[in-house]
Symmetry: C2
Subunit: 410 residues, 2 copies
Amino acid sequence: MPASALAAASRLASPAPEDRLFAEVRAHVAALPQSGIVEVKNYGAGREGLIPLWVGEGDIATPAFICEAAAQALHGGQTFYTWQRGLPDLRGAIARYMAGLYNIPVDPERFFVTGSGMQSIHIAFTMTLAAGDEIIIPTPAWPNAAAAAEKIGAKPVYVPFTSGPAGFSLDIERLAAAITPRTRTIFINTPANPTGFVASHDDLRAVLALARKHGLWIVADEIYGRFYYGDEARAPSFHDIMDADDHILFVQTFSKNWAMTGWRIGWLEAPPALGQIVENLVQYSTSGVAAFMQRGAIAALEQGEPFVAEQIARARHGCDLVADPLIATGKVDLVKPHGAFYLFLSIPGHDDVRRLALQLIDEANVGLAPGTAFGPGGERYLRLCYARGEAQLKEATARLVAWLDRQPAP
Amino acid sequence: MPASALAAASRLASPAPEDRLFAEVRAHVAALPQSGIVEVKNYGAGREGLIPLWVGEGDIATPAFICEAAAQALHGGQTFYTWQRGLPDLRGAIARYMAGLYNIPVDPERFFVTGSGMQSIHIAFTMTLAAGDEIIIPTPAWPNAAAAAEKIGAKPVYVPFTSGPAGFSLDIERLAAAITPRTRTIFINTPANPTGFVASHDDLRAVLALARKHGLWIVADEIYGRFYYGDEARAPSFHDIMDADDHILFVQTFSKNWAMTGWRIGWLEAPPALGQIVENLVQYSTSGVAAFMQRGAIAALEQGEPFVAEQIARARHGCDLVADPLIATGKVDLVKPHGAFYLFLSIPGHDDVRRLALQLIDEANVGLAPGTAFGPGGERYLRLCYARGEAQLKEATARLVAWLDRQPAP
């Protein structure tokens, strides 16, 4: 479904706009789609015992050592305006962390603290897109990226993943065919939400070659890079194949690795030559991130490895816990993903997934997100987040399996 | 000086851009001006004993009861995704606070929590401006508003205040003359940074009449509304004269009243019919504000009145402490302001204020902000923030008076 149809569909579910005011808001802004998960969440709100697997976050609160570092800084008076690019201490800690993980030089000038991965996307898009420009987004995808482009007046051009027995894959020829003279940017999320797609080094090389050939920017959302279930310690990254002066802006966040979704803190990685532009865009949108939060982020990077390792092991286990029994029913189409922490599954005979998501609330008391929220190619799917504890996942899986068992063969 | 000239001037002071990358960032974004205070701050960085009066914040850390409320929520696990419009508890607390202060109905649906007053401006401008649109901004003004409009590709149209023996005043005829078919929005900051201008009810009525006549939005930045040195408890507000369905978006922040500059939390007030649009714009830019921070904000609103009263009394006293001795020298042009917490002064014979600001660092060890940072009409001025303790203000004043005494008559 094109974004405008999505917007129209979700607008119907919203409270009736008071027309005069709505009409006087800039049209492309008034037309932004509501989050496609909200309707389902609202429908399930307050259901006793409902297991919510619709949102992209775990069930573990931020570890105490991170909270403690932030609270100490807060009590210690770190409540004044601070560096727009981030505390030098935090930029240094990020640079060391990234150097260790990706085998790149330690260069704090490449890293800019932002008020969330979402803000990193927003800044990267503001740098590279203007009204009328096009950005290519493989889908199904986390919908906020397309919406952030639309907010600028740019046009998302969707390139659906190919779906096959090995799961979702990126069709480079389709990607190349989508490039027009208006294309400015390619958005690549790997490992990907919601599909679990993980780009191979060959995929990344092919995308980079296209970007170089056509003079395009790449915005690389690698926030799930460590939630990777292959043999290596992390997923393939543009860092492995790029030159220092390639036009790649990396989106990162503290949300997933360190269970800090609610904090709203992330970073943008960009060539240092663009530092003043990034600083200006932070200055003129939110004017920085609380210093006391940044102290928590430093603790996360410097003391968080055991926690991250636990999180990843838990997700890997969670994936098996849910996916294996569901696949064993023979009633779902599902390929176990190699990364991120979502299952993206379909149930043959149940193609109206918005309706299905509501039905599963009523009949299984499990909350899943309808794939319609994730753009073209997602229309037959449901997204399930398995970044949760064993007991809850087992219970949710049992409920889903029992529900599936009750369905007639399609 | 037009914004482009400001941008060009500040760009000269920046590290030389690596051209290829710069050239491939969207032009209106690459051209955004660097904050005009930064050069002076960098020049003074590390000077022993320098008294910094250049930034718009006080010298008091956030009160302990506010920090405590946030820290408790943080330790209590309020670290997950939360409402995009803000915690219902906080929206309720804001609504009650505003109802008490402005004698309006309690309506939580009018209030949207944002990640700073700056983000409120950004959202308000995104709603009302697109590329090519014009926004009218009386100047001298806090420069971030114009820059936020330029970031969208809109054009700030500056209307200089009239400066006279009673201070700065708004020339409604000039404002009316600046309206063109492209005008969409009028930005009104009252009490104003940096001039201390306070709009009268007649001023506000005149602006509102213009907006109604031409179908324009008003973005009202009333963040200094309580830093008012008239007889009433607060400055005149659009709330006093508007109808419920007027097209006014209010910008607010926790930064100034509650000494929370570094937190980055504020709110936007908008007609409830626009709620879904505001929610979407939060969702697709930063995706909300940390719940634990919002708990601190609730404490600020519900227990902060004694602190706010102290802050305002201190600022009123600080204004006298600095302004009276400076005026007594006979060597400065300065009218005591009626609101906000800045002096905007000029020193006849010293018209190159960028140079003067650097000179005052060298020769008086006091940091002031050059008026060139604040747009047309500010070229001969310096901004001094007096939201500081008595001892520092007295010492800074003594230094400035001694420096003035050493200058030959112009």
